[in-house]
């Protein structure tokens, strides 16, 4: 993974060469065999030759704004044929599969929130946290009960949003028990984030987002055709659905550990109107931690996978469930 500012990237045989525009100093080249993803921040340029090399080698180039939100990405025009998958994906909206998928994903997200709080409660011997984890868990139980009443996807959506909202409210409130007031105000704030913890979460979710979107595309799914998140032009609603399973295990846990170890502090913030963004040092530390987390290998259902490959496995599982190759869909739940 290469993250990079104010330079331009060109190709030389099998290498990406980074040139500093200001100095015209030739920087180190990188073998395309050793790169899996290039993240580019506004202000850098890539030549078409370098893009071609990246595409040939299956290297993902993602362009991010200063908040860490991806606004463009390049991938090969020679994508595998995914028309079949997308036909089923469109049908799933009305044939009940969509409802099943989104309630699985949200159920998993809520359980992941509860398991994370549980592990925090255990480590800190905190009764109050344990209680909040239980309350969140009971929200997940509600989904099972309500699911029988849902006829249309719209009813399911309203109901799920309500349950998910309640769980998230308890969850973000509970986190104020483990984070000092100086870095976390006790609620989730975005656009702009109001404190250090929120700024890091927003940035980390941006990185995770690129991973989930890539997995959707590689699995033949249409990232813009989701179930829980409604259709809007330019809104990748399926990515927003699937990302829910991975927010806590990948981003929340790595961000919280960075803050607890004092590795990222208020000095890594840049004030803007109404809130804060991470400055360069803060972005680097957060990106590094989330990347390492994505590469981390864990035991899951008797196999060893990195979080990154689990994201891809889940996207493939969605695709197989939609086409009928599999009868069910098991969401990703992380209980450690």
């Amino acid at each position: 993974m290469v993250d990079e500012y104010g330079t331009y990237i060109h190709k030389k045989s099998n290498r990406f060469i980074f040139v500093d525009k200001t100095e015209k100093l030739l920087k180190k080249g990188f073998s395309a065999d050793k790169v899996s993803q290039i993240l580019i921040y506004t202000g850098a340029a890539v030549t078409a030759d370098a893009i071609e090399l990246a595409v040939k080698k299956g290297i993902d180039i993602v362009y991010l704004d200063r908040m860490g939100k991806p606004f463009a990405r390049t991938y090969s025009c020679g994508q595998e044929n995914s028309a079949t998958v997308q036909r089923y994906q469109a049908r799933a909206y009305d044939d009940g599969k969509g409802i099943f998928l989104m309630s699985s994903m949200i159920g998993a997200k809520i359980r992941n929130q509860a398991y994370f709080l549980k592990s925090l409660a255990k480590n800190r011997d905190n009764e109050r946290l344990a209680g909040q984890a239980e309350r969140i868990m009971s929200q997940a139980e509600k989904i099972k009960k309500r699911a029988e009443e849902w006829g249309y996807i719209e009813e399911a959506r309203d109901s799920l949003f309500g349950i998910e909202g309640e769980a998230s409210r308890i969850y973000f409130q509970a986190l104020s028990n483990v984070l000092p007031e100086a870095v976390y105000s006790g609620t989730r704030t975005k656009r702009p984030p109001g404190d250090l913890f929120n700024a890091m979460l927003s940035y980390g979710y941006g990185i995770l987002y690129t991973e989930v979107e890539k997995a959707c595309i590689l699995s033949g799914l249409n990232p813009y055709m989701g179930f829980l998140h409604t259709d809007l032009p330019g809104k990748p609603s399926l990515v927003l659905d699937l990302i829910e399973e991975f927010r806590q295990p990948v981003v929340d846990r790595s961000v919280l550990s960075l803050i607890s170890k004092n590795l990222v502090t208020k000095n890594d913030l840049k004030p803007v109107e109404g809130g804060f963004y991470l400055n360069r040092a803060g972005r680097h530390k957060t990106l590094e931690a989330v990347s390492e987390r994505l590469a981390k290998v864990i035991n899951y259902r008797d196999f060893r996978h990195s979080f990154s490959s689990l994201v891809l496995l889940q996207a493939r599982a969605v695709s197989k469930f939609l086409t009928g190759e599999r009868n069910g869909y098991a969401p990703f739940v992380y209980w450690r």
């Binding site: 993974m1 993250d3 990079e4 330079t7 980074f18 500093d20 920087k27 080249g29 065999d33 590094e288």
Partner: protein, 101 residues
């Protein structure tokens, strides 16, 4: 695995082609004719193969040679360096790298 690659090649243009190959495969230059880096076994074979094709040229001489030698981390830990420092961290693969200021 980590490996050393050393060569002795008479012809300038051939030598240049071989060093370019090393860089293409993601090895780093430690000395003028010494490269070091991390490659999968399979990649090491394909690099050797490609170098062989380069040297199989009329400018190649009987004296030219290239040596690729894997080295385990235990052996690497026992190394002694005199002069310019050799820091493994510079050459080991990383998850995430920041370039440019």
């Amino acid at each position: 695995m980590f490996l050393w690659l050393v060569y002795d090649i008479t012809d300038n243009s051939l030598r240049n082609k071989v060093s370019e190959k090393c860089l293409d495969f993601g090895l780093y230059r430690f000395q003028k004719s010494v490269f070091f880096g991390e490659l999968e076994q399979e990649k090491m074979y394909s690099l050797a193969e490609e170098i062989e094709q380069v040297l199989d040229h009329e400018e190649g001489t009987e004296e030219d040679s290239v040596l690729l030698s894997p080295v385990c981390t235990a052996c690497l830990g026992k190394r002694l360096v005199i002069g310019k420092n050799f820091d493994i961290d510079t050459y080991a693969e990383k998850e995430c790298l920041f370039i440019a200021e």
